[in-house]
Symmetry: C2
Subunit: 194 residues, 2 copies
Amino acid sequence: MSTTGQLQQHILRRTHFSEVELAEFFTAFRQVRVKKRQFIVQPEFVPKHRFYVVQGCLRAYVIGDEGQEHTIQFAIDDWWITDYNSYIYQQPASMFIMALEDSIVLQIDYETEQRLKQQCHAYETYFRILAETTAAHMARRVITNLTKTAEQRYEMFLERYPDVAAKVPQYALASYLGMTTEYLSKLRHKRLKS
Amino acid sequence: MSTTGQLQQHILRRTHFSEVELAEFFTAFRQVRVKKRQFIVQPEFVPKHRFYVVQGCLRAYVIGDEGQEHTIQFAIDDWWITDYNSYIYQQPASMFIMALEDSIVLQIDYETEQRLKQQCHAYETYFRILAETTAAHMARRVITNLTKTAEQRYEMFLERYPDVAAKVPQYALASYLGMTTEYLSKLRHKRLKS
DNA sequence: AAATCTTCTTGAACTGGATTAACTTGTCGG
DNA sequence: CCGACAAGTTAATCCAGTTCAAGAAGATTT
Protein backbone atom coordinates (compact mmCIF):
# COMPACT_ATOMS: atom_id res chain seq x y z
CA MET A 1 0.00 0.00 0.00
CA SER A 2 1.20 3.52 -0.75
CA THR A 3 1.90 5.69 2.26
CA THR A 4 -1.20 7.77 1.70
CA GLY A 5 -3.22 4.61 1.23
CA GLN A 6 -3.01 3.97 4.92
CA LEU A 7 -4.30 7.43 5.79
CA GLN A 8 -7.02 6.95 3.19
CA GLN A 9 -8.23 3.91 5.09
CA HIS A 10 -8.12 5.86 8.33
CA ILE A 11 -10.37 8.47 6.76
CA LEU A 12 -12.81 6.16 5.01
CA ARG A 13 -13.29 4.04 8.11
CA ARG A 14 -14.61 7.16 9.86
CA THR A 15 -16.35 9.26 7.26
CA HIS A 16 -16.83 9.61 3.53
CA PHE A 17 -14.64 11.52 1.04
CA SER A 18 -15.26 11.45 -2.70
CA GLU A 19 -12.42 10.48 -5.06
CA VAL A 20 -11.76 14.12 -5.81
CA GLU A 21 -11.84 15.13 -2.16
CA LEU A 22 -9.41 12.37 -1.28
CA ALA A 23 -6.99 13.39 -4.02
CA GLU A 24 -7.02 17.03 -3.02
CA PHE A 25 -6.73 16.20 0.66
CA PHE A 26 -3.50 14.30 0.16
CA THR A 27 -1.84 17.16 -1.66
CA ALA A 28 -1.88 18.99 1.68
CA PHE A 29 0.47 16.46 3.25
CA ARG A 30 4.19 16.16 3.11
CA GLN A 31 5.88 12.88 3.90
CA VAL A 32 8.80 13.22 6.28
CA ARG A 33 11.31 10.76 7.64
CA VAL A 34 12.14 11.25 11.28
CA LYS A 35 15.25 9.70 12.74
CA LYS A 36 15.35 8.11 16.18
CA ARG A 37 15.80 10.79 18.90
CA GLN A 38 14.85 13.57 16.51
CA PHE A 39 12.32 16.16 17.72
CA ILE A 40 9.34 17.24 15.67
CA VAL A 41 7.91 19.54 18.35
CA GLN A 42 9.84 21.49 20.96
CA PRO A 43 8.81 23.84 23.79
CA GLU A 44 8.81 27.56 23.01
CA PHE A 45 8.20 27.02 19.30
CA VAL A 46 4.67 27.22 17.91
CA PRO A 47 3.86 23.79 16.48
CA LYS A 48 3.21 24.31 12.79
CA HIS A 49 2.08 20.75 12.10
CA ARG A 50 -0.17 17.93 13.01
CA PHE A 51 1.35 14.49 12.28
CA TYR A 52 -0.05 11.21 11.07
CA VAL A 53 2.30 8.31 11.78
CA VAL A 54 2.65 6.04 8.77
CA GLN A 55 5.21 3.89 10.46
CA GLY A 56 7.33 4.06 13.56
CA CYS A 57 6.90 5.25 17.11
CA LEU A 58 6.79 8.73 18.61
CA ARG A 59 6.42 10.06 22.12
CA ALA A 60 5.11 13.36 23.45
CA TYR A 61 6.29 14.45 26.88
CA VAL A 62 6.60 17.45 29.17
CA ILE A 63 9.28 18.28 31.72
CA GLY A 64 7.95 18.80 35.25
CA ASP A 65 9.11 21.37 37.80
CA GLU A 66 11.73 19.02 39.20
CA GLY A 67 12.99 18.00 35.78
CA GLN A 68 11.19 14.65 35.49
CA GLU A 69 9.76 13.67 32.13
CA HIS A 70 6.03 12.91 31.91
CA THR A 71 4.78 11.11 28.83
CA ILE A 72 1.55 12.56 27.49
CA GLN A 73 1.04 10.44 24.41
CA PHE A 74 2.54 7.71 22.31
CA ALA A 75 1.82 7.30 18.64
CA ILE A 76 2.53 4.29 16.49
CA ASP A 77 1.40 3.36 12.99
CA ASP A 78 -1.96 4.86 12.04
CA TRP A 79 -2.15 7.34 14.94
CA TRP A 80 -2.23 11.12 14.88
CA ILE A 81 -0.03 13.15 17.22
CA THR A 82 0.69 16.77 18.07
CA ASP A 83 0.84 19.09 21.08
CA TYR A 84 -2.92 19.48 20.99
CA ASN A 85 -3.29 22.56 23.16
CA SER A 86 -0.54 24.45 21.42
CA TYR A 87 -1.44 23.40 17.91
CA ILE A 88 -5.12 24.31 17.97
CA TYR A 89 -4.55 27.64 19.68
CA GLN A 90 -1.25 28.24 17.82
CA GLN A 91 0.61 28.95 21.04
CA PRO A 92 4.22 28.04 21.86
CA ALA A 93 4.44 24.36 22.67
CA SER A 94 4.99 23.02 26.16
CA MET A 95 5.94 19.55 25.00
CA PHE A 96 8.64 17.67 23.23
CA ILE A 97 7.62 15.18 20.59
CA MET A 98 10.45 12.83 19.75
CA ALA A 99 10.86 9.75 17.62
CA LEU A 100 11.54 6.63 19.67
CA GLU A 101 12.62 4.89 16.47
CA ASP A 102 13.13 5.85 12.84
CA SER A 103 9.69 6.81 11.63
CA ILE A 104 7.73 8.03 8.66
CA VAL A 105 5.06 10.67 9.20
CA LEU A 106 2.69 12.70 7.07
CA GLN A 107 2.49 16.31 8.18
CA ILE A 108 -0.12 18.94 7.43
CA ASP A 109 0.41 22.51 8.47
CA TYR A 110 -1.98 24.62 10.46
CA GLU A 111 -2.96 27.16 7.80
CA THR A 112 -3.57 24.49 5.21
CA GLU A 113 -5.71 22.54 7.64
CA GLN A 114 -7.77 25.65 8.40
CA ARG A 115 -8.25 26.35 4.72
CA LEU A 116 -9.29 22.78 3.97
CA LYS A 117 -11.79 22.67 6.80
CA GLN A 118 -13.35 25.91 5.65
CA GLN A 119 -13.44 24.88 2.04
CA CYS A 120 -15.06 21.50 2.34
CA HIS A 121 -17.67 20.11 4.69
CA ALA A 122 -16.31 16.56 4.49
CA TYR A 123 -12.86 17.65 5.65
CA GLU A 124 -14.42 19.50 8.55
CA THR A 125 -16.29 16.35 9.51
CA TYR A 126 -13.12 14.28 9.51
CA PHE A 127 -11.32 16.70 11.81
CA ARG A 128 -14.38 16.90 14.03
CA ILE A 129 -14.30 13.15 14.41
CA LEU A 130 -10.57 13.22 15.14
CA ALA A 131 -11.14 15.81 17.87
CA GLU A 132 -14.01 13.82 19.35
CA THR A 133 -11.95 10.68 19.45
CA THR A 134 -9.12 12.54 21.13
CA ALA A 135 -11.50 14.06 23.69
CA ALA A 136 -13.06 10.69 24.45
CA HIS A 137 -9.65 9.08 24.79
CA MET A 138 -8.38 11.79 27.11
CA ALA A 139 -11.55 11.56 29.21
CA ARG A 140 -10.98 7.82 29.63
CA ARG A 141 -7.43 8.49 30.71
CA VAL A 142 -8.51 11.03 33.31
CA ILE A 143 -10.97 8.48 34.70
CA THR A 144 -8.36 5.74 34.81
CA ASN A 145 -5.87 7.96 36.57
CA LEU A 146 -8.45 8.94 39.16
CA THR A 147 -9.90 5.52 39.82
CA LYS A 148 -7.14 2.95 39.39
CA THR A 149 -3.95 2.07 41.26
CA ALA A 150 -0.56 2.11 39.54
CA GLU A 151 -0.65 -1.65 39.21
CA GLN A 152 -4.13 -1.66 37.67
CA ARG A 153 -3.13 1.07 35.24
CA TYR A 154 -0.20 -1.03 34.11
CA GLU A 155 -2.32 -4.15 33.68
CA MET A 156 -4.95 -2.21 31.75
CA PHE A 157 -2.37 -0.68 29.46
CA LEU A 158 -0.87 -4.08 28.68
CA GLU A 159 -4.28 -5.39 27.76
CA ARG A 160 -5.39 -2.42 25.71
CA TYR A 161 -2.16 -1.51 23.95
CA PRO A 162 0.05 -4.60 23.90
CA ASP A 163 1.78 -3.42 20.72
CA VAL A 164 2.71 -0.07 22.23
CA ALA A 165 3.83 -1.69 25.48
CA ALA A 166 6.11 -3.95 23.48
CA LYS A 167 7.67 -1.10 21.52
CA VAL A 168 8.35 1.69 23.95
CA PRO A 169 11.11 1.81 26.55
CA GLN A 170 10.17 1.11 30.13
CA TYR A 171 10.92 4.59 31.44
CA ALA A 172 8.62 6.13 28.85
CA LEU A 173 5.78 3.77 29.74
CA ALA A 174 6.29 4.37 33.46
CA SER A 175 6.04 8.11 33.01
CA TYR A 176 2.93 7.67 30.86
CA LEU A 177 1.28 5.62 33.58
CA GLY A 178 2.26 8.11 36.27
CA MET A 179 4.83 6.12 38.23
CA THR A 180 8.60 5.85 38.47
CA THR A 181 10.74 3.45 36.41
CA GLU A 182 11.78 1.73 39.61
CA TYR A 183 8.22 1.02 40.63
CA LEU A 184 7.26 -0.27 37.21
CA SER A 185 10.25 -2.55 37.33
CA LYS A 186 8.95 -4.00 40.60
CA LEU A 187 5.50 -4.49 39.14
CA ARG A 188 6.88 -6.38 36.17
CA HIS A 189 8.94 -8.60 38.40
CA LYS A 190 5.99 -9.30 40.67
CA ARG A 191 3.92 -10.14 37.59
CA LEU A 192 6.41 -12.68 36.25
CA LYS A 193 6.40 -14.62 39.51
CA SER A 194 2.63 -15.06 39.60
CA MET B 1 -31.21 38.14 27.70
CA SER B 2 -33.33 35.21 26.52
CA THR B 3 -32.06 31.77 27.42
CA THR B 4 -30.97 31.01 23.89
CA GLY B 5 -29.28 34.41 23.72
CA GLN B 6 -26.58 33.08 25.97
CA LEU B 7 -25.95 30.07 23.78
CA GLN B 8 -25.98 32.37 20.77
CA GLN B 9 -23.09 34.31 22.26
CA HIS B 10 -21.26 31.06 22.96
CA ILE B 11 -21.58 30.17 19.31
CA LEU B 12 -20.74 33.54 17.79
CA ARG B 13 -17.67 33.93 19.97
CA ARG B 14 -16.30 30.76 18.36
CA THR B 15 -17.58 30.66 14.79
CA HIS B 16 -20.07 32.30 12.47
CA PHE B 17 -23.75 31.36 11.93
CA SER B 18 -26.06 33.38 9.70
CA GLU B 19 -29.37 34.67 11.10
CA VAL B 20 -31.20 31.81 9.45
CA GLU B 21 -28.73 29.23 10.68
CA LEU B 22 -28.99 30.53 14.23
CA ALA B 23 -32.76 30.43 14.17
CA GLU B 24 -32.89 26.88 12.87
CA PHE B 25 -30.19 25.74 15.26
CA PHE B 26 -32.17 26.80 18.30
CA THR B 27 -35.26 24.87 17.24
CA ALA B 28 -33.21 21.74 17.96
CA PHE B 29 -33.00 22.54 21.65
CA ARG B 30 -35.41 22.01 24.44
CA GLN B 31 -35.14 23.96 27.65
CA VAL B 32 -35.35 21.84 30.77
CA ARG B 33 -35.39 22.65 34.46
CA VAL B 34 -33.36 20.28 36.58
CA LYS B 35 -33.93 20.14 40.32
CA LYS B 36 -31.10 19.79 42.81
CA ARG B 37 -30.04 16.13 43.19
CA GLN B 38 -31.83 15.16 39.98
CA PHE B 39 -29.93 12.99 37.48
CA ILE B 40 -29.77 13.77 33.79
CA VAL B 41 -27.44 10.88 32.95
CA GLN B 42 -27.21 7.53 34.69
CA PRO B 43 -25.07 4.42 34.17
CA GLU B 44 -26.53 1.67 32.00
CA PHE B 45 -28.72 4.07 30.03
CA VAL B 46 -27.54 5.40 26.68
CA PRO B 47 -27.25 9.18 27.04
CA LYS B 48 -29.64 10.66 24.52
CA HIS B 49 -28.59 14.26 25.06
CA ARG B 50 -25.82 16.75 25.23
CA PHE B 51 -26.50 19.64 27.64
CA TYR B 52 -25.72 23.31 27.60
CA VAL B 53 -26.02 24.85 31.06
CA VAL B 54 -27.90 28.13 30.96
CA GLN B 55 -27.80 28.54 34.68
CA GLY B 56 -26.95 26.37 37.66
CA CYS B 57 -24.35 23.77 38.49
CA LEU B 58 -23.99 20.13 37.47
CA ARG B 59 -21.49 17.42 38.26
CA ALA B 60 -20.46 14.30 36.34
CA TYR B 61 -18.96 11.46 38.35
CA VAL B 62 -18.19 7.75 38.23
CA ILE B 63 -18.23 5.19 41.03
CA GLY B 64 -14.92 3.36 41.53
CA ASP B 65 -14.40 -0.32 42.36
CA GLU B 66 -14.48 0.40 46.09
CA GLY B 67 -17.54 2.59 45.85
CA GLN B 68 -15.82 5.98 45.98
CA GLU B 69 -17.15 8.77 43.79
CA HIS B 70 -14.75 10.41 41.34
CA THR B 71 -15.78 13.69 39.79
CA ILE B 72 -15.04 13.90 36.09
CA GLN B 73 -16.46 17.29 35.25
CA PHE B 74 -18.32 20.24 36.65
CA ALA B 75 -20.45 22.53 34.53
CA ILE B 76 -21.77 25.92 35.47
CA ASP B 77 -23.39 28.66 33.38
CA ASP B 78 -22.28 28.66 29.74
CA TRP B 79 -20.63 25.21 29.81
CA TRP B 80 -21.51 22.07 27.91
CA ILE B 81 -21.68 18.71 29.65
CA THR B 82 -22.38 15.07 28.85
CA ASP B 83 -20.84 11.62 29.31
CA TYR B 84 -18.59 12.22 26.32
CA ASN B 85 -17.51 8.66 25.65
CA SER B 86 -20.99 7.28 25.87
CA TYR B 87 -22.73 10.06 24.01
CA ILE B 88 -20.54 10.12 20.93
CA TYR B 89 -20.45 6.35 20.58
CA GLN B 90 -24.06 5.98 21.80
CA GLN B 91 -23.08 3.38 24.37
CA PRO B 92 -24.57 2.91 27.86
CA ALA B 93 -23.21 5.58 30.18
CA SER B 94 -20.68 4.89 32.89
CA MET B 95 -21.33 8.15 34.72
CA PHE B 96 -23.89 9.94 36.74
CA ILE B 97 -24.59 13.55 35.92
CA MET B 98 -26.46 15.26 38.71
CA ALA B 99 -27.55 18.80 39.45
CA LEU B 100 -25.76 20.29 42.46
CA GLU B 101 -28.38 23.03 42.52
CA ASP B 102 -31.60 23.84 40.67
CA SER B 103 -30.50 24.45 37.11
CA ILE B 104 -31.72 25.31 33.65
CA VAL B 105 -30.22 23.46 30.69
CA LEU B 106 -30.74 23.33 26.95
CA GLN B 107 -30.65 19.81 25.61
CA ILE B 108 -30.15 18.57 22.08
CA ASP B 109 -30.60 14.93 21.24
CA TYR B 110 -28.10 12.76 19.45
CA GLU B 111 -30.01 12.14 16.22
CA THR B 112 -30.88 15.79 15.80
CA GLU B 113 -27.27 16.76 16.36
CA GLN B 114 -26.14 14.25 13.72
CA ARG B 115 -28.68 15.56 11.25
CA LEU B 116 -27.72 19.18 11.83
CA LYS B 117 -24.02 18.49 11.43
CA GLN B 118 -24.63 16.68 8.18
CA GLN B 119 -26.95 19.33 6.88
CA CYS B 120 -24.88 22.42 7.46
CA HIS B 121 -21.16 23.06 7.37
CA ALA B 122 -21.34 25.85 9.97
CA TYR B 123 -22.97 23.54 12.53
CA GLU B 124 -20.29 20.95 11.89
CA THR B 125 -17.65 23.60 12.51
CA TYR B 126 -19.20 24.57 15.83
CA PHE B 127 -19.25 21.00 17.09
CA ARG B 128 -15.72 20.48 15.82
CA ILE B 129 -14.60 23.45 17.90
CA LEU B 130 -16.48 22.14 20.93
CA ALA B 131 -14.74 18.79 20.59
CA GLU B 132 -11.33 20.43 20.16
CA THR B 133 -11.84 22.55 23.24
CA THR B 134 -12.87 19.49 25.22
CA ALA B 135 -9.84 17.55 23.99
CA ALA B 136 -7.49 20.39 24.84
CA HIS B 137 -9.04 20.78 28.26
CA MET B 138 -8.79 17.08 29.02
CA ALA B 139 -5.18 17.03 27.83
CA ARG B 140 -4.34 19.84 30.24
CA ARG B 141 -5.98 17.91 33.02
CA VAL B 142 -3.98 14.76 32.26
CA ILE B 143 -0.80 16.84 32.36
CA THR B 144 -1.74 18.50 35.64
CA ASN B 145 -2.57 15.19 37.26
CA LEU B 146 0.75 13.73 36.14
CA THR B 147 2.97 16.64 37.04
CA LYS B 148 1.51 18.39 40.08
CA THR B 149 1.06 17.51 43.75
CA ALA B 150 -2.37 17.48 45.39
CA GLU B 151 -1.69 20.87 46.94
CA GLN B 152 -0.59 22.42 43.65
CA ARG B 153 -3.65 21.01 41.91
CA TYR B 154 -5.87 22.62 44.50
CA GLU B 155 -4.11 25.99 44.22
CA MET B 156 -4.31 25.90 40.45
CA PHE B 157 -7.99 25.07 40.50
CA LEU B 158 -8.73 27.95 42.86
CA GLU B 159 -6.93 30.32 40.54
CA ARG B 160 -8.43 29.05 37.32
CA TYR B 161 -11.98 28.34 38.41
CA PRO B 162 -12.70 30.44 41.50
CA ASP B 163 -16.41 30.56 40.67
CA VAL B 164 -16.68 26.77 40.48
CA ALA B 165 -14.62 26.32 43.64
CA ALA B 166 -17.02 28.64 45.45
CA LYS B 167 -20.13 26.80 44.28
CA VAL B 168 -19.42 23.11 44.60
CA PRO B 169 -19.30 21.10 47.83
CA GLN B 170 -15.90 20.23 49.18
CA TYR B 171 -16.18 16.48 48.71
CA ALA B 172 -17.00 16.96 45.03
CA LEU B 173 -14.00 19.20 44.50
CA ALA B 174 -11.71 16.81 46.37
CA SER B 175 -12.78 13.93 44.18
CA TYR B 176 -12.27 16.07 41.07
CA LEU B 177 -8.74 16.89 42.16
CA GLY B 178 -7.97 13.27 42.97
CA MET B 179 -7.66 13.41 46.75
CA THR B 180 -9.79 12.60 49.78
CA THR B 181 -12.14 15.08 51.45
CA GLU B 182 -10.09 14.81 54.60
CA TYR B 183 -6.91 15.80 52.87
CA LEU B 184 -8.51 18.73 51.09
CA SER B 185 -9.89 19.89 54.41
CA LYS B 186 -6.36 19.89 55.79
CA LEU B 187 -5.04 21.79 52.80
CA ARG B 188 -7.68 24.47 53.23
CA HIS B 189 -6.88 24.82 56.89
CA LYS B 190 -3.17 25.07 56.19
CA ARG B 191 -3.93 27.71 53.57
CA LEU B 192 -5.92 29.89 55.96
CA LYS B 193 -3.11 29.98 58.48
CA SER B 194 -0.53 31.22 55.97
C1' DA C 1 -37.41 23.59 66.93
C1' DA C 2 -36.39 18.76 67.14
C1' DA C 3 -34.84 15.15 64.39
C1' DT C 4 -32.24 13.40 60.76
C1' DC C 5 -29.17 13.55 57.21
C1' DT C 6 -25.37 15.47 54.81
C1' DT C 7 -21.07 17.92 54.78
C1' DC C 8 -16.84 19.22 56.95
C1' DT C 9 -13.04 18.83 60.45
C1' DT C 10 -9.35 16.86 63.23
C1' DG C 11 -5.94 13.63 64.67
C1' DA C 12 -3.52 9.09 64.91
C1' DA C 13 -1.94 5.18 62.47
C1' DC C 14 -0.74 3.38 58.11
C1' DT C 15 0.73 2.50 53.13
C1' DG C 16 1.45 2.84 48.01
C1' DG C 17 4.63 4.55 45.66
C1' DA C 18 8.81 7.95 45.54
C1' DT C 19 13.61 8.71 46.39
C1' DT C 20 18.28 7.55 46.64
C1' DA C 21 22.02 5.04 45.47
C1' DA C 22 24.69 1.31 43.69
C1' DC C 23 24.74 -2.15 40.37
C1' DT C 24 23.70 -4.98 35.96
C1' DT C 25 22.55 -5.38 31.35
C1' DG C 26 21.73 -3.56 26.62
C1' DT C 27 22.96 -1.10 22.47
C1' DC C 28 25.41 0.89 19.02
C1' DG C 29 28.75 3.87 16.86
C1' DG C 30 33.52 3.64 15.55
C1' DC D 1 34.73 -6.26 19.37
C1' DC D 2 35.34 -2.66 22.64
C1' DG D 3 34.22 1.60 25.10
C1' DA D 4 30.67 4.51 26.55
C1' DC D 5 26.29 5.74 27.51
C1' DA D 6 21.41 4.53 27.80
C1' DA D 7 18.06 1.48 29.96
C1' DG D 8 16.58 -1.58 33.55
C1' DT D 9 17.04 -3.79 38.38
C1' DT D 10 17.23 -4.23 43.45
C1' DA D 11 16.97 -2.87 48.14
C1' DA D 12 16.73 0.45 52.06
C1' DT D 13 14.57 4.46 53.62
C1' DC D 14 11.13 8.03 53.48
C1' DC D 15 6.83 10.78 52.85
C1' DA D 16 2.55 12.65 50.57
C1' DG D 17 -1.64 11.33 50.87
C1' DT D 18 -5.07 7.53 52.66
C1' DT D 19 -7.76 5.25 56.11
C1' DC D 20 -10.17 4.98 60.19
C1' DA D 21 -12.70 6.88 63.75
C1' DA D 22 -15.27 10.23 66.20
C1' DG D 23 -17.23 14.53 66.55
C1' DA D 24 -18.89 19.30 64.99
C1' DA D 25 -21.50 22.16 62.12
C1' DG D 26 -24.82 22.92 58.43
C1' DA D 27 -29.02 21.77 55.87
C1' DT D 28 -33.54 19.85 55.22
C1' DT D 29 -37.61 17.78 56.62
C1' DT D 30 -41.51 17.21 59.77
